[in-house]
């Protein structure tokens, strides 16, 4: 079990491109854009070579050493451009790899996606690709062929799902989903901000994947573990009980565990099985009258 500290270390290593993870997928929504997280990649990795493949960005980022307008190029042409800019045969002695950012993978046809990703990959680059989740999907012309979102999450070494950190407590998940469906994003709720939630799915070499949740602040470049809702609630209760009297009313974790393990009496009776609530077991001291036609059968 990795400790919370380990997970933060892992995230920072991924952001710094230090983990051996060739393809990193960022999933964003209309409520929270991937833009800020991509900035964080650039900031943490301090990499010297950044190739920006633009399908929807018009303003060339300052950090981009190369900026390629891809919207009118074919997938093959893009791959050739990238290889020309970052020759794959360069010595991999450099400690940090080159970063290739794709601002949106939604513009590539689903049948071409696999060829595109594998064509771009070389040992010296780390590919960070953004995929917008709310773009309407199209059935593949080939039956059964997987949707781009499914395919990308399958091949990615790590998946960064950004979600909004909603500052308005009246907006719950359902309200937000409904608002996004109608393209009416809530305002003054912290959407599309520099501080957001991140759900990281990291794939180990064995194939096993682990999920971690963070709150990322790209303004201060700080990362912390996301405190889940019920944990927060429990903490509140404890705080209340502590200062009530001079008696110790709190329960620490060991005591809580012991409490949970106590077998409560009549628990079996509370579980209503099929048939009646009463369970009768015939034992050696009971006697059964076989000649009485009205005796209870069991």
């Amino acid at each position: 079990m990795s400790t919370p500290q380990n997970s933060i270390v892992l995230l920072n290593r991924l952001l710094a491109l230090k983990e051996s993870a060739p393809f990193l997928l960022v999933l964003d929504t209309l409520a929270q854009s991937a833009y800020s997280l991509v900035q964080e990649f650039v900031h943490k990795s301090q990499t010297k070579e950044v190739v920006f493949l633009s399908f929807e960005t018009v303003n060339r980022p300052i950090y981009a050493t190369q900026f390629v307008q891809c919207d009118s190029l074919s997938s093959q042409a893009i791959i050739e451009r990238v290889h020309a800019l970052l020759p794959p045969s360069a010595p991999s002695a450099a400690s940090t790899k080159s970063l290739v950012i794709i601002d949106s993978l939604n513009y590539i046809a689903s049948e071409e996606l696999s060829g595109f990703i594998s064509g771009l990959m070389t040992p010296t680059i780390v590919l960070v690709g953004v995929f917008h989740s709310n773009v309407p999907r199209l059935e593949s012309p080939i039956t059964n062929y997987p949707q781009p979102a499914e395919f990308l999450t399958y091949i990615a070494s790590a998946i960064f799902e950004v979600q909004p950190l909603v500052t308005d407590s009246s907006i719950d998940g359902e309200t937000l989903e409904y608002a996004v469906e109608n393209l009416r994003l809530p305002i003054k709720a912290g959407l599309n901000g520099a501080v957001f939630k991140l759900v990281l799915v990291s794939r180990r070499k064995s194939g096993r994947s682990l999920t971690y949740k963070f709150v990322v602040n790209t303004a201060t470049h700080e990362v912390e573990i996301l405190q889940e809702q019920d944990e927060v609630a429990a903490n509140d209760d404890e705080a209340l009980l502590k200062d009530l009297t001079t008696f110790n009313l709190t329960t620490n974790k060991k005591q809580q565990l012991a409490k949970d393990q106590v077998e409560l009496p009549f628990l079996e009776a509370q579980n209503f099985g099929p048939g009646g609530a009463i369970v009768y077991e015939f034992e050696k001291d009971d006697d059964y009258d076989e000649e009485d036609p009205y005796e209870d059968p069991f």
Binding site: P136, L138, L183, A194
Partner: protein, 296 residues
């Protein structure tokens, strides 16, 4: 509604409506409207602000405007404004702009260019709306023509002057032809590249969009329209939404104006320091098309 105070239109953290010029930053702004709440009053306010730095929506400037009887001189306009319309002609815009501080726009006005992509759209430019082979080429040619005209019009523009481009209803091309969203978005990027600030005005019909759809055909009109709108919101720095009240028609309120951060609003904040201040106004438009803003 009790005596609600009239409000001024302010979009950015520095109180301005249209951002100043920044050579390293070209903004994309999406303006959406619905049936019943048309955008004209807002778009004309944006145009007025771009040209004259005033805003007739605001309480103080409307008084000074009415004291001027003669039409405003556009020689010293604060920006060069280009309006490209797929739904209206110049007569429509010059009539409506007259209400804004007496703006007088004609084909020969300095600092104002109107590109009519409406009158001859299907008689001259797009003669084969159903043909997938020809449509991309025809649209390409149409926009190349538009770009050429813009470049020519601003040839003499001083470097410090902003170029504001407003495109009205280009989403109609997707609906009326076999053009796909990606192909049209190419053209949006190209326009954004030559302008300082690009405003794309498009209709948003909630019944005709479906974000969670899995379309069986790439030509499905709901899929195409949603595809375009969603991708636009992702790449916009600012989204202005004009929509009816949830409760329907009211005599003292026409609708709601929402100022929303777009998907790339963080980019704007990091590069220019300007932040979109999200808010919701109520507005009232009278029969002459003059509008007033209030808070809830």
């Amino acid at each position: 509604m009790s005596a609600s105070q009239r409000q001024d239109l302010a979009i950015y953290s520095n109180g301005c409506i249209i951002p100043p010029l920044n050579p390293a930053f070209k903004s994309l702004n999406l303006v959406t409207y619905q049936q019943g709440t048309h955008h004209t009053w807002l778009t004309q306010a944006l145009l007025e602000n771009a040209l004259l730095d005033t805003c007739s929506l605001n309480s103080d400037s409307s008084q000074t405007a009415r004291s001027l009887n003669n039409s405003r001189n556009l020689e010293d306009a604060k920006a060069h404004v280009v309006v490209v319309s797929f739904m209206n002609d110049l007569a429509h815009w010059s009539k409506n702009l007259k209400k804004c501080n007496n703006l007088d726009v004609t084909p020969s006005s300095p600092n104002f260019t109107f590109l009519d992509c409406f009158t001859n759209l299907f008689s001259k430019f797009i003669t084969a709306p159903t043909s997938a082979q020809s449509i991309e080429a025809q649209v390409q040619e149409l926009f190349a023509d538009v770009t050429q005209k813009i470049v020519t019009a601003v040839r003499a523009k001083p470097a410090h002057q902003r170029l504001i481009v407003v495109v009205e209803n280009l989403e109609f091309l997707i609906a009326a032809t076999c053009l796909r969203a990606n192909q049209l978005l190419c053209q949006v990027s190209a326009l954004q590249n030559i302008a300082s600030h690009l405003y794309v005005v498009t209709q948003l019909a909630p019944e005709a969009i479906d974000v969670s759809t899995v379309a069986s055909s790439a030509h499905n009109p709901v899929y195409k329209a949603t595809d375009f709108l969603v991708k636009m919101i992702y790449r916009a720095h600012l989204v202005l939404q004009v929509q009816p009240l949830a409760t329907g028609r009211a005599d003292d309120v026409t609708g709601v104006l929402r100022i929303v951060r777009g998907g790339l609003s963080e980019e704007m904040r990091l590069v220019t320091g300007l932040n979109v201040v999200e808010k919701e106004y109520l507005y009232l438009v009278n029969k002459d098309g003059n509008a007033k803003l209030f808070f809830r």
